[in-house]
C-alpha cells in the first residue's frame, strides 16, 4: 500500500555561483524516471538534489524553486518528514544513531505511524540483496560499514518511507551492488535521481544532468544513441566487478581466471 498519490516534481532554475541565470526553465520528474547528475567535484551536484529534498523556495544558495504537482508544496509536506514524498540517501556513509538495526527500524516505523507487521525483517532482507556483507537485526547502527549503511537506508526508503522519489548521492561509494539498487528502484516504479561519478551508472539513466560552476550546464537525453557504448561499458564493469571480488577474496591474479 502506497501512502502517497502520484507526485510530479518540477525544479525551476536558479543561478550559477557567479550569480548569472541557469540555462534551463524547468526540469520535470515523474514516477519511473531515472535521472543521473554528473559533473566535476564541487560543481553543485549535491546542492542540486538537496534543493529537491528541502523543497527549495529561493531560500538555498542556488536560488532554485521546487514545485510539487505544479505548486509550492504545503507546509506540512515540507516540515513533517513522514509526509514527505522524497527520501534522500546522503553522501555520508555513517549512521550516528546509538541504536541497533532493529531498534532503529522500529523507531522509524513508529515515526511513520504505519503498522509494524513484518517490515523490520523485510527491510533487512532487501538490504542484504544490495550488500555482500550481511546485516543482522542485533547489530549496532554505528558498527555497520559504509556499504551496509547505504544498503539499509536504501531498503528503508523503499519499505518504510515508501517514498515515490528517491535521491541517491554517490550510491556507488561503499561497494554495494549498484546495478541491483537501480533495477530494484525501477521495478518499484520510483522516480530516481542519482549523483554519480560512475560511468556505467551514469549511462543507466534516461536523462543526464551535467553540472558546472554550481549550475545545470546541459541536459542530455541519449534516447538510444548510447546503446553501443552502454553494452561495452557494461561488460567492462562486469570484468572489473569480478576482478574486484577476486582481489577482495585474496586471490593472486595471474591471468588464468575466467573473467569474461
Amino acid at each position: 500500500m502506497e501512502p502517497f498519490t502520484p507526485v510530479i516534481i518540477t525544479v525551476l532554475s536558479g543561478k550559477t555561483r557567479d550569480g548569472s541565470l541557469e540555462i534551463f526553465d524547468e526540469i520535470v520528474l515523474r514516477a519511473g524516471d531515472t535521472v543521473s547528475v554528473v559533473g566535476p567535484t564541487g560543481s553543485g551536484k549535491t546542492a542540486f538534489i538537496n534543493d529537491i529534498e528541502v523543497f527549495a523556495c529561493k531560500d538555498t544558495v542556488t536560488g532554485r524553486t521546487v514545485l510539487v504537482n505544479g505548486r509550492i508544496p504545503p507546509d506540512e509536506m515540507v516540515r513533517d518528514p513522514a509526509k514527505k514524498p522524497i527520501a534522500l540517501i546522503t553522501q555520508n556513509t555513517k549512521c550516528i544513531a546509538d541504536l541497533t538495526v532493529k531498534e532503529f527500524l522500529e523507531m522509524h516505523i513508529r515515526a511513520r505511524r504505519i503498522p509494524d507487521d513484518s517490515r523490520v525483517g523485510e527491510t533487512i532482507a532487501l538490504a542484504n540483496e544490495f550488500t555482500g556483507e550481511k546485516i543482522a537485526a542485533p547489530m549496532h547502527m554505528t558498527s555497520l560499514s559504509g556499504g551496509q549503511t547505504r544498503s539499509l537506508l536504501i531498503a528503508d526508503a523503499i519499505t518504510i518511507s515508501s517514498a515515490p522519489i528517491i535521491l541517491l548521492d554517490e550510491v556507488e561509494s561503499g561497494g554495494i551492488f549498484k546495478e541491483t539498487v537501480i533495477s530494484t528502484l525501477k521495478a518499484n516504479n520510483k522516480a530516481v535521481i542519482f549523483v554519480t561519478h560512475d560511468p556505467f551508472l551514469a549511462l543507466l539513466s534516461d536523462r543526464r544532468i551535467v553540472m558546472r560552476n554550481g549550475a545545470v550546464e546541459r541536459i542530455i537525453i541519449p534516447g538510444g544513441r548510447e546503446k553501443k557504448i552502454i553494452h561495452l561499458v557494461s561488460s567492462m564493469d562486469r570484468v572489473l566487478f569480478k576482478i574486484r571480488e577476486e582481489i577482495r577474496a585474496g586471490t593472486l591474479l595471474d591471468g588464468g581466471e575466467d573473467i569474461s
Binding site: T60, K84, L88, I96, L153
Partner: protein
Amino acid sequence: MKLLIFAGPPSAGKTAVIRQIIRQLTGEFTVAFLKIDVVQAFEDEELKKEFGIPAKKVYSGDICPDHTGILVLRDAISWAEDLGAGILIVESAGLCLRCTPYTTQSLGIVVLSAVSGTNSPLKMAPMIALADIAVVTKVDLISQAEKEVFREQVRDVAPRVDIIETNAVHGTGLRFLTMAIRNVPDILDPDAIVLRGMPPLAVCTICAGKKEIGWQNHFGILKTLDGADDLYRGE
C-alpha cells in the same frame, strides 16, 4: 519589542541559527543581541562586526549561567528598548540542563544538534519541554531516516513543541522560524515577566523559587548587566 530566548547545549548551532535570523529580519526590525556565558564568549563581537547591531555579553562566573541570564534580563530589556530595538535576542550559555531560561512574554527556542546522539533529547528534557520551538540543526550530516528517528525522540519528550529542521550554516528551513518570530507579540509589561519553569532547589533566591526577573527582585550574590563585579544584597 519582541523577546527571543535561545537555549541549547554548546556547539548545537545557536549562534548559527541566530545569524540566519538576523540576516533575514534585519531590514524589518532593529535587532539587539545579548550573550550569556561562563568565562569566554565571542558572539557579541562577531555579530556586532558582521551586522552592525548592538550586542553585549555577560559572564556568569561562579553563578549558574541561566540564573545570571534571569538576573540581568530586566536590565537588558531596558537597554534594548532604549536603543529602539524591535527584537531582543538572548543566547544562553547552554550549560545547565536543569534550569530553563524561558520566560513569559517571549518566544522560547531550544537548539539541538541532530548529531548529538539519539538519546540527547531525553537528557535535556526540561529545556525542550518548556520551549515553544525546537530547532534541529546539522540535518545535512544525517540521512532522512535518522532525521525522522531523531524527531520521534524529541516528540517523546515534548509532544507539542514545534520542530524545525535546518542546515543552520545555509539557513534552509528557517523561514518557518522567522514566520513564528513575526507572529510573536511584543512584550506587554516587562515588570510582569516571570520564568516559565520551576528552578531546581539550591541556594539563591531564584533557586528558592522566586521567579521575578531582574536582580532588584533577588537577594544574595547578584549580577547587573554592566557591573563588572558581583553584587551582594542581604535580606
